[in-house]
């Protein structure tokens, strides 16, 4: 069709050809299902019957009156906030400590041990820690000589699960920051030493400014992954006891598969995506903004 080719460069046309498998896949597996879900969110549908009842924004309004959802949002917020603040901070200390180990074999050993936890499936990590937390024969109570219900105590359960996520991904976060530390030019350290900088000064004025981009990535990864965290909660407590560890992701799946509220579940999925997008954009905007100021 020669008419179409007018105005579109040959390179753009070749570009489309090379991108078409990727675009097809994104359309078929992500965009079209996502739009279908968007449509679903305006209907009341139980997933089985052929009857779809149009309810407009009712599903979105229903969220406000859903007590379990409010509890889930609270838990998700605490969990994500704890992860976004504590994990990158700890990872930064860990990365700096490991990078400053002089012996190569020891440095590699530390790196391997801390990173190894992030290799396993979150579902498997959840199983391992269910064993560790088991009140009677679990490792933790044996070591402490106690009999805490780590996953059965409403005040404790969220933090017990937080510890698992912390254990699993601290090393991965640290590894990203270590890559950042390795990219700091050697001369900058030497220059700072010449100017009389000590350990803290080196970190504050040489390493840290260089790491800002890497820290941003670690924070964004934590926002994205923890807001949608599902496997840990599903396998360890399934939201219990009495919704004390219910998070938005588990609530969405339960509403769809146990309650048959597919429209409502769809609406909540969209709210979750929206919150994720907004937080990531705000965070990136803030960090970019600060960079310009400096």
């Amino acid at each position: 069709m020669p008419k179409i080719s007018i105005g579109i460069s040959a390179e753009t046309r070749t570009g489309w050809r090379f991108l078409s498998p990727a675009i097809l896949l994104v359309l078929a597996i992500a965009i079209i299902p996502a739009l279908y879900t968007l449509g679903m969110s305006f209907y009341s549908w139980n997933g089985l019957s052929a009857k779809w009842t149009f309810v407009g924004l009712q599903n979105y309004r229903d969220m406000l009156g859903d007590k379990t959802l409010m509890q889930a949002i609270r838990n998700t917020a605490i969990f994500t906030l704890a992860n976004v603040i504590l994990k990158p901070a700890a990872a930064l200390c860990l990365a700096y400590a490991i990078e400053s180990v002089r012996l190569t074999w020891l440095r590699v050993t530390y790196r391997t041990i801390f990173f190894s936890t992030s290799l396993i499936s979150a579902a498997i990590a959840a199983m391992i820690w269910s064993f560790v937390y088991e009140p009677n024969v679990g490792l933790l109570n044996r070591l402490l000589g106690s009999n805490h219900m780590w996953l059965g105590d409403r005040d404790l359960v969220l933090w017990s699960i937080f510890a698992v996520g912390f254990w699993q991904f601290l090393g991965q976060n640290a590894l990203i920051l270590m890559a950042g530390l390795q990219s700091v030019p050697r001369e900058l350290y030497d220059a700072a030493e010449m100017d009389g900088a000590r350990t803290w000064g080196m970190f504050r004025f040489v390493a840290f400014p260089h790491l800002k981009g890497f820290i941003a990535i670690v924070v964004v990864i934590n926002i994205i992954n923890n807001l949608k965290a599902y496997d840990l909660f599903k396998v360890m407590t399934d939201g219990g006891p009495r919704h004390a560890s219910e998070v938005v992701a588990t609530h969405i799946v339960k509403q769809a598969f146990e309650k048959g509220e597919l429209g409502y579940s769809a609406a909540m999925s969209y709210a979750l995506l929206l919150v994720t997008l907004v937080l990531v954009v705000i965070y990136l905007w803030l960090t970019e903004f600060r960079k310009e100021e400096a």
Partner: protein
Amino acid sequence: MRRYHPLTVVKHLVLCLLSLAFAGPFVWVIATSLKASSEFFSPNFLPMDGLQWENYTQAFVTYGLAHNYFNSLTVTVAAVGLGLAIALLAAYGMFRLRFRFRNTVFVALVVVMMMPPQLTLISQFLLFQKSGILYSPLALILPYTLGVLPLSVFILRSFFKELPIDLDHAARMDGATDLQIVRLVLLPLSVPVLATAGILTFIQTWNEFLLASIFVRSDWATIPVAVANINNIATQDGNQPMKFAAVVLSFLPLFVLFLFLQRFFVKGLASGGVKG
């Protein structure tokens, strides 16, 4: 004698204790997996009644983990292979040609990465049901292939940016078509970065749990789902240490992979994560 700064001593002490705490659960799980059933409730940390390797053969053979290994391997290799090929083609289109819509496609990929899986879960389920691939391995391979794309494209993007465009021009001068440029010029050069992307996405795919627990039945169950099932069954059967053996079997291949291919991880996490 060398004198050490007190801070250095504290650092080593903390690192040492912390790494013990991090490795502890693994060591304990492995130790328990070799206990006899009767010994499970005893307070000993280590198995005292001889090493029960039968727990492993039982998990592997009787409970069928061998079959689940085959499933996981099939699904993961197919998705990663397909995903890398599609990512390479797309990266060529986006970053080696003057393609006007590169930013649109790129942003779409970033948003796809942020989507909670719950958002598309039910729609995908219905779509797969309609098209008759639900409960077949394709129902996992297709979404997993999509999952391979974002990270691979990020990694290829930072690599292609540093690779001189003159390479492509020279090849085109010699009469190479676009596909030949990708296959004969860029692919051989991209092997190390593709390896990095391949390993990182292999692990992500191998470990996926939510879709695997819904889109296929037990005949195509992958390792994480199968181990979760064994976890439930073994509790009823009273064979507790065998659960631990199943858990060890689930992470062992990834540990081996990591030990041999460590250098790719460090580089990949840096380039894929940051320059994206």
